[in-house]
């Protein structure tokens, strides 16, 4: 019956990318009535103030749990205090919150962007080694994500760490492609005209990589495992597999969007009165052209 259901209010960022859509879908398919939940879903259209409104509304609706995928990391004290005053536990998903008082949320579930960046650096080092270019001077450009987004910050930071470890790697330029294909292309076009000798392009999401690849081809160069320029990207959306199969993209580093089941698990534990870990990373892998991409792609949920 209606009363037995656990009510969960989920304040989602929006639907700004395929990743986000998959993330939303994962929650919607997990928190169903069959599974004993009533999900109140709110889409914030990428605006923090909307999320704050939504949380306030959840409090009024007396939900049992509030799950937030914060638009940004900062500025949540007041409204989380309100939730705490009403005695509603808050679970964070995807992005972290930057709070003075960590007790305001119960736990966090998400990917590790910095780790993704580091993995990328490690992969590149291994790949170059394998190609016999381990000692060569390597010119790198980065097409960053939307400046300020946690994915952008984490991935830039993670890769920078690895960059520092290799003296022969040189970061020529960084410019934001705002996580879109069109901007990625425009930025890459500009890079190609400013620098003749680019060896590696790091794109902070897949869509930027698609644009960069087009720009590279238009400039009469080639990319991918058999080409002049190495292109790597993050997220591992389905389309990225197409691109790798076509031999344009070298590798993509996963950012797992399937947080729903994990959050459900946590809620079950909390219902049973158990303690939960404060920080919970979801598993993330990477894919490159050496793998059986078609098989993997067929299995993936997004």
């Amino acid at each position: 019956a209606e009363e037995d259901l656990i009510t969960v209010g989920y304040a989602q960022v929006g639907a700004e990318s395929d990743w986000r859509t998959a993330n939303t879908e994962s929650f919607k398919s997990t928190f169903t009535e069959e599974n004993g939940y009533k999900l109140i879903f709110d889409d914030a259209q990428q605006k923090q103030e909307n999320q704050i409104k939504a949380i306030r509304s959840f409090i009024q609706q007396e939900v049992d749990y509030i799950v937030v995928a914060p638009v940004v990391e900062t500025g949540w004290e007041t409204v989380l205090q309100e939730a705490a005053d009403a005695g509603i536990p808050v679970i964070l998903s995807d992005r972290m919150m930057d709070l003075a008082d960590d007790s305001l949320y119960t736990c966090w579930v998400g990917g590790n962007f910095t780790l993704e960046g580091e993995t990328c650096g490690d992969w590149l080092a291994a790949y170059l080694e394998e190609q016999g270019r381990g000692e060569e001077e390597i010119n790198i450009v980065t097409i960053q994500g939307t400046i300020g987004a946690s994915a952008q910050i984490g991935r830039t930071e993670g890769f920078a760490k690895k960059l520092a470890e290799h003296e022969n790697w040189k970061m020529l330029d960084m410019q934001s492609g705002e996580f879109t294909q069109a901007k990625g292309q425009e930025v890459m076009e500009s890079f190609l005209k400013s620098y003749d000798d680019i060896d590696v392009v790091i794109c902070e999401n897949d869509n930027e990589a698609f644009g960069a690849i087009d720009a590279i081809k238009a400039a009469g160069k080639t990319c991918g495992p058999d080409g002049d320029i190495i292109v790597v990207s993050f997220d591992a959306v389905k389309a990225a597999f197409d691109s790798m199969i076509a031999g344009d993209l070298n590798a993509t580093f996963e950012c797992n969007p399937l947080h729903g089941p994990r959050v459900a698990e946590i809620i079950q534990k909390l219902e049973a009165g158990e303690e939960v870990e404060k920080i919970q990373y979801v598993d993330e892998a990477f894919f490159d052209t050496t793998m059986d991409l078609e098989a993997i792609q067929a299995e993936r949920a997004y």
């Binding site: 395929d18 705002e178 069109a182 292309q185 500009s190 087009d214 400039a219």
Partner: protein, 350 residues
């Protein structure tokens, strides 16, 4: 001297002058700005990028100019309409799948359908503005808000890819033709619109309605119809721009196609020396304005300005350009000068 005066008093002088200054700045920022080469059988170079990338803004600005002229308002929905159009085109040709490597349905039909939808969006705006007399910005705010939602609805919230070479042609180039297709389309749109305005009475009608719709009605113009048509046309322009943009990325990215392009289009109209209060307009001015903006953006990219700081430079350049175009600046200068020279003498009366 006489000649210079005559030249500077021409309507298009200031916009052209500003474009020229921008181009010079561009050359200083990247010396190979005007270098044109051939790459893969297609023209290649920064200046080509400017012209190519500027296509969408130019086409939007064409429609926007007429909207501004006839209704003294702006159509802020064009960016969102572009997204809708792209979504229709992709969702139709991909047959609802998320990514296809060949057409599921006829691409021409898809393009036609998409254009039709774009025009319909324009008609919706036109109906609200012309018939219901809702203020343009507010009327178009509705599609501005809904447009990307509709686009996502059509593509199920995901970016839909049509990875077929012929789909990419509009945004890149047709094999064997060295000029990017979008440049052709842009020229065609501008020329056709010009002809429409100059060879029929439409240009005069639009201006008359924009300047004084009451008087225009009394001399037998159907103000309502004209305003309606102008919005429909703006929808048409948005749909062409949407198709180009979608073809560039061979996909429909509901969240990003045409994002903030409405602002650039409006800016282009203003930089072209047109008044946003309606009435007299110069289509060429808007086109020049659009290329000015694109030159600025490309130059800033070339100068490695971080993209989130680009707006600061853009703002400064815009303010300088529009100030230069303001006749008030001249008056103010003259007054200051007079004050200065009189200051020593009697003490000016202010």
């Amino acid at each position: 001297m006489e000649n210079i005066k005559k030249l500077t008093s021409k309507r298009l002088f200031m916009p052209l002058f500003c474009l020229a200054v921008m181009l010079i700045a561009a050359v200083i920022a990247s010396p190979d700005f005007f270098k044109i080469g051939i790459q893969n059988g297609v023209l290649y170079g920064r200046i080509i990028d400017v012209i190519n990338r500027g296509s969408e803004v130019v086409i939007l600005a064409v429609g926007m100019t007429l909207v501004v002229s006839a209704s003294a308002g702006t159509d802020i929905s064009v960016g969102a309409v572009m997204a809708v159009v792209a979504a229709v085109a992709c969702a139709f040709t991909a047959g609802g799948q998320q990514s296809v490597n060949e057409y599921i349905r006829n691409p021409l039909l898809g393009a036609l359908l998409a254009i039709l939808v774009g025009i319909l969006c324009g008609c919706f705006n036109g109906f609200l503005v012309a018939k219901l007399k809702i203020q343009p910005m507010v009327a178009t705010l509705i599609l501005f808000t809904a447009g990307r939602g509709i686009a996502q609805l059509l593509t199920n919230g995901q970016i839909t890819y049509v990875r077929v070479d012929s789909y990419k042609m509009l945004g890149s180039s047709i094999p064997g033709v060295p000029v990017p297709t979008s440049i052709f389309v842009t020229v065609l749109m501008v020329v056709l619109t010009m002809l429409l305005l100059k060879k029929t009475a439409m240009g005069m009608y639009i201006e008359a309605v924009g300047i004084n719709s009451k008087a225009a009605r009394l001399v037998g113009l159907k103000s309502t119809m004209i305003i309606f048509l102008v919005y429909a046309f703006s929808g048409f322009c948005a749909s062409i721009a949407g198709l180009i943009n979608s073809s560039r990325i061979y996909s429909a990215d509901a969240n990003n196609i045409g994002l903030n392009l409405e602002l650039d289009a409006i800016l282009a109209v203003a930089l072209g020396g047109n008044s946003l209060a309606g009435g007299k307009f110069s289509l060429l001015g808007s086109v020049i304005g659009a290329y000015t903006i694109q030159t600025l953006t490309t130059t800033l990219y070339a100068g490695s300005v971080s993209s989130d700081q680009i707006p600061v430079y853009k703002a400064i350049v815009v303010v300088i350009i529009v100030s230069l175009q303001s006749p008030e600046l001249g008056k103010l200068m003259r007054r200051l000068k007079a004050k200065f020279s009189a200051g020593a003498g009697k003490g000016a009366v202010s």
